[in-house]
Structure formats: structure tokens, C-alpha cells
């Protein structure tokens, strides 16, 4: 079982990396694309099969260290 976590910059935060990737894509000919946001993907291996039992701890870890709530949002699944 794994927790699969996605961390993205908050919409209100400047995302120069996403903007630069967007510009590069447009220059390569991918016309008409919208805003690009660059985030992080984390996988945490979890023992057992009880996803519900881990949910609170994973959420806690995301809030405390895996993301910075000032600048980032996160979401995750356990499967």
C-alpha cells in the first residue's frame, strides 16, 4: 500500500517555474495551452492494508512537513 501525494503551489503564489515551462511549451509549438503549474509528487510505502488507519497520519505529515501551507496545497490517495 502506498500514499501518493501531490504538492502544488497555491494559485495565489507566483509560480515562475510554471510560467517558464508554459513559455517553453508555446515556443515548441504547443499553441493554445493554459497556465502550467510545477509541483511535487511523493510516494510513501505503508505497511498493512488499512488505508483509513493511515489517512490521518499522512494528512498530518503533509501539513507539518511535506508541504508548506503558506505557499502550497496538497492532496493524496492511499492505495
Amino acid at each position: 500500500m502506498k500514499a501518493k501525494i501531490i504538492v502544488t503551489p497555491k494559485k495565489a503564489v507566483l509560480d515562475p517555474q510554471g510560467k517558464t515551462v508554459q513559455n517553453a511549451l508555446e515556443q515548441m509549438g504547443y499553441k493554445g495551452i493554459g497556465a502550467v503549474h510545477v509541483g511535487k509528487y511523493l510516494e510513501i510505502e505503508l505497511p498493512g492494508a488499512d488505508a483509513e488507519a493511515w489517512r490521518k497520519q499522512v494528512d498530518d505529515a503533509c501539513h507539518k512537513i511535506l508541504s508548506n501551507p503558506v505557499i502550497e496545497d496538497y492532496r493524496f490517495v492511499i492505495e
Partner: protein, 236 residues
């Protein structure tokens, strides 16, 4: 005065900070390894620059959980002065001891150059001896120095007079061209509500002797020593 200079794995401005404390300012100081858990006998704490824990996850994100940071929290809660420089500023923000966060420079470039700073307030341990109107010239060296906080936090910082330094041009004007990283409201350094914990991205410890091209950083350390001495006199 006795200065603690914290050392994390991959701190790299620690030697410079101790050099300034001992050889330039004539104070005492020692390195404090991040696994230590006491700041007993210390009057002041410097969290120096570097790339603690390789900047993994986010700058300063791992260092904030080091054992010494609990001692820093207690030291700060008792009014002890703490200055975070560059990575030290990032660590203090991650630790929640200062508001906001430092994100990737707007240019995406690592910027390594001298910048001009306007001192926005003299009401702090770190700015009280900087002459009025003096524009500081200090070096920066960072890739993640763009200060971000939400509008409500920024308004509160202004209202509370907690912005200590702002990026400016040589005349002290807060221009966009004088802002090397895109920091909101040109913020280069700020302090907490109690005014004893502060952080800044520029490096005063790299500019405290004329031989290094600028000695303006010394004004920040001299302000700090002045504040410490007056606090001791009051306590006596």
C-alpha cells in the same frame, strides 16, 4: 556578548559569521551543532546561511526539526535575539518563528551580487544604530529568496512596522529593478511581533570589513550589540 552560531549539515556561512563575531566585533561565540539541545549561557543566536540538508523538500524544511530548533524556540520565547541570514531566514519561516515563506526567485536564476537596501525601521535590535537615510550595500547569494506572504500578512507587517529592510536602488527608491528576486513589497528582511527574531536574505557577515568591498553589514551587528548591552544595563 556570547553568540551561538548554529551549524546544520551543509551550513556554509558559519565560519564567516564566527569570524565577524570574534575578529571584527571582538565578541565571544561558538558553533552549536544542530544535534545539541541547549543554548545555555548564550546571549544571541545566529542561524547562518548555506543549504541545510541539501535544500531537500524545501529550503529550511528539514532543519526546522533539528533538536537545536526547540532550544531556539524557547530562547526566542524568553526574548532572546535570533538572526537568520539567508538559509537561516528560510529556516525561521519554515519553523513558523517568522511569517511567510521564501520561494524561487522570480527570474529562476541563482542571484549572486551586491544589492542596495533601505532600512525601513530603526526600531529593532538589528537596525537601531544604522544611520537615518543610510543605504546599505550588501551581497546576496540565493536561488530561493523571493519573499511571499498573503496580502493580510503583508498589511499586518507594514502596520506593525516589522519590515526591517527592503530592496532598493542606490538612492533608496523601492524600484522593481532594485529587487533581485521578486520579493513582495521589496521585503529583504523582517522581524517577529516581539521584534527579537529577525531574518534577511542578504549577507551582513560577508560585508563587515572594507577589504570585502563593503562594511555596511557591520552596522547590523553593531546595532545588535548595542541592543544587547542596553538590555543588560536595564536588567542590572
Amino acid at each position: 556578548m556570547n553568540f551561538a552560531i548554529l551549524q546544520f549539515p551543509a551550513s556554509n556561512c558559519d565560519q564567516d559569521a564566527l569570524h565577524v563575531v570574534q575578529n571584527v566585533l571582538g565578541q565571544s561565540g561558538r558553533f552549536v551543532w544542530h544535534k545539541e539541545n541547549s543554548l545555555a549561557g548564550m546571549n544571541a543566536v545566529i542561524i547562518p546561511g548555506g543549504f541545510s540538508y541539501g535544500d531537500y523538500l524545501r529550503t529550511g524544511a528539514i532543519a526546522r526539526f533539528s533538536p537545536i530548533m526547540q532550544a531556539v524556540r524557547e530562547f526566542a520565547a524568553q526574548g532572546g535575539p535570533v538572526l537568520g541570514i539567508c538559509n537561516g531566514f528560510q529556516i525561521l519561516c519554515e519553523a513558523g518563528l517568522l511569517p511567510g515563506a521564501l520561494i524561487r526567485n522570480r527570474s529562476l536564476q541563482f542571484r549572486c551580487e551586491h544589492v542596495f537596501l533601505k532600512t525601513a525601521t530603526h526600531q529593532s535590535p538589528f537596525t537601531n544604530k544604522i544611520p537615518a537615510g543610510k543605504i546599505l550595500r550588501l551581497p546576496i547569494a540565493h536561488g530561493e529568496g523571493c519573499y511571499f506572504a498573503d496580502d493580510a500578512t503583508l498589511d499586518q507587517l507594514e502596520k506593525d512596522d516589522r519590515i526591517l529592510w527592503q530592496y532598493a536602488d542606490a538612492n533608496g527608491q523601492l524600484t522593481e529593478s532594485g529587487n533581485p528576486n521578486g520579493s513582495l513589497r521589496n521585503i529583504a528582511g523582517l522581524c517577529n511581533e516581539a521584534r527579537n527574531v529577525a531574518g534577511l536574505m542578504p549577507h551582513p557577515e560577508r560585508a563587515s570589513e572594507n577589504v570585502l568591498g563593503s562594511a555596511d553589514g557591520r552596522l547590523i551587528f553593531e546595532s545588535w550589540i548595542n541592543w544587547l548591552e542596553s538590555r543588560m544595563t536595564q536588567a542590572a
